[in-house]
């Protein structure tokens, strides 16, 4: 494992997934895979602010929905290329992240969490009353014509989300390993001590909120074309808020691979449960997994793995 730099691995996995995507005939797997990848983006993005800096954001759905409704607005005005919609969603969401950061990042702990939850509710109410994007009834979006080189539009969306997932993981990893990540870790451990060590705490938190929100917005941008009918309840679904917290927690928040593991694990379990049992059971499964991990493995899968490795390392007579 030592022979390759670790950034090679996400790229290798992505290439492999891409290859598989061209071979799979059944469109359902593309649909399901898209959801898993979307959650890799959301979980990795959430972890930048929540895991690295310790600020728990309950409003992931708001940033996701900003991306989704951004695309709806562009779609109404004319058919934009998907890349433009994604960039638009990312920029608007990161600006909302900036404003939210200025308004709420002086709050600590539970007060910050409540403020982000309020953000989601306020935005949802605004969208409900905005007729241009369909209001409470929602809006239909017609998929553009199939893209050359792809068997169907969903296959294209799958590959787009694969690229977004790769970008998110690489961004999260770059932050974790840079001095920004060290500064965020210091903020998480003790904000006052961090400030007194020369860490520009407020600036770093704003940066983390903008990156985190922006990536979530990018994840939401292709969503209207994915489901073709968007309403406030699906765009602001509580599942996004809960999953993007649960996934890093289950996978492990201290390492960039944690949210990826958590997202794959929880999203696959939810997809399987939806097909085999019922779609109502999803959040309950997340809840049970979440409680088990918090009590039994508070550092997630990554934590379990590290503990195992340490035990093996210490065994010879130390």
């Amino acid at each position: 494992m030592r022979r390759f730099p670790s950034w090679v691995w996400p790229i290798a996995v992505a290439v492999f997934t891409l290859a598989v995507s061209r071979l799979v005939e059944n469109e359902y797997y593309m649909f399901a895979g898209y959801v898993v990848l979307q959650y890799i983006v959301l979980a990795s993005a959430w972890n930048i602010l929540g895991g690295y800096a310790g600020y728990v954001n309950f409003g992931s759905a708001a940033f996701f929905a900003i991306g989704a409704y951004g695309t709806v607005v562009l779609d109404k005005l004319g058919e934009p290329p998907l890349v433009v919609a994604i960039l638009f969603g990312g920029i608007v969401a990161s600006l909302v992240g900036l404003v939210t950061a200025y308004l709420t990042l002086r709050l600590r702990g539970v007060f910050f969490a409540i403020a982000t939850l309020a953000l989601a509710i306020v935005l949802q109410t605004l969208v409900m009353n905005w007729e241009f994007v369909g209001g409470p009834l929602g809006v239909y979006t017609t998929r553009p014509d199939s893209i050359t080189g792809f068997p169907g539009y969903v296959n294209y969306l799958f590959v787009v989300m694969l690229v977004l997932a790769l970008i998110s993981v690489l961004v999260a990893r770059a932050i974790e390993l840079s001095f920004v990540g060290r500064g965020l870790a210091a903020i998480r451990d003790n904000e006052l001590a961090a400030e007194c060590c020369g860490v520009p705490t407020f600036r770093l938190k704003v940066l983390a909120a903008m990156l985190s929100g922006g990536l979530m917005g990018m994840a939401g941008a292709p969503f209207p074309y994915y489901i073709t009918y968007l309403d406030p309840n699906s765009a602001f679904s509580i599942a996004y808020g809960i999953n993007s917290i649960a996934m890093p927690l289950v996978g492990g928040m201290s390492h960039w691979i944690g949210p990826v593991i958590g997202a794959v694990l929880l999203a696959v379990v939810q997809q399987v449960a939806t097909v085999t049992i019922s779609s109502e059971l999803n959040l309950m499964i997340v809840g049970v997994l979440l409680i088990s991990f918090i009590t039994l493995a508070p550092n997630g899968v990554v934590g379990l793995f590290e503990r195992y490795r340490q035990q093996r390392h210490w065994r010879p007579g130390k």
């Binding site: 001095f179 060290r182 500064g183 870790a185 210091a186 998480r188 451990d189 003790n190 006052l192 001590a193 961090a194 400030e195 007194c196 060590c197 020369g198 860490v199 520009p200 705490t201 407020f202 201290s254």
Partner: protein
């Protein structure tokens, strides 16, 4: 002509609601000076430290450091300029090892110091500082596992890593044994030898007298004495504040 002051704070005032914690306090520190700051509980020592370091901002008054007005700067900027404080209750970065704790100020504050060596890596610099405070063998230990006296030393080491010109040591010795207090005093003297001015906030009189060239006494938010330690100890007002009538 006096030498130019490193720190000069004039008529610092701070109130919390109706309670006046600091009432027009002046304080000046020359480069390389050792100053003791004493006073009974609730006299405003910690508030003064907070105002100087930027953890809170004073209501009125001016603070200049190295000839520069700093009263409006956020705490991290003051740290980068060279005012570095330690905390009464040690606040290590618990998820990090001892040596990693030092890399934070080295990276975020220390490199702004003109004298900082850029060729030596952060880790090597951190190890040198740990060597100085006697924590070298704990370098890769988790900072959450240290003993009380080790945590105080880490607190000092982390402050040193920010390359201070003025170190404000807030009750670094509270709760330590006689021998441990001596150890910390020696450490502070060693840092002072390297040219760092030090304000020591302390309840342990023995330590203040042994360490300080000058002692400042706060009582109920007002400065009542500012002189050589033995003169201050014989000041009638100070004796009254500490021992009663």
């Amino acid at each position: 002509m006096t030498m130019q002051n490193l720190l000069e704070a004039n008529s610092i005032r701070k109130s919390f609601g109706g309670f006046v914690a600091l009432d027009a306090v002046d304080i000046a520190v020359r480069p390389g000076e050792r100053v003791g700051l004493i006073g009974p509980n609730g006299s405003g020592k910690s508030t003064l430290v907070n105002c100087l370091s930027g953890a809170i901002s004073s209501d009125t008054g001016t603070i200049s450091f190295d000839g520069r007005a700093i009263e409006r700067l956020p705490a991290y900027r003051r740290t980068r300029l060279g005012i570095v404080r330690t905390f009464q209750i040690p606040l290590p970065f618990m998820s990090m090892t001892v040596v990693e704790n030092l890399t934070i100020p080295l990276r975020f504050a220390g490199r702004h110091h003109p004298g900082a060596l850029t060729v030596v890596s952060d880790i090597e610099q951190a190890l040198l500082i740990l060597e100085d405070v006697g924590l070298r063998d704990k370098a890769s230990e988790s900072s959450a596992r240290l003993t009380q006296v080790e945590m105080r030393k880490l607190e000092l080491a982390r402050a040193v890593a920010a390359r201070p010109k003025l170190l404000i040591a807030d009750e670094t010795m509270a709760g330590l044994s006689h021998a441990e207090v001596d150890e910390i005093i020696l450490l502070l003297l060693k840092l002072n030898d390297q040219g760092i001015a030090i304000i020591m906030i302390e309840h342990i009189m023995r330590a203040v007298i042994a360490f300080s060239q000058r002692a400042i006494v706060l009582v109920a938010g007002r400065k009542i004495a500012d002189d050589a330690p033995d003169v201050v100890m014989n000041n009638a007002e100070v004796v009254r504040a500490y021992l009663g009538e």
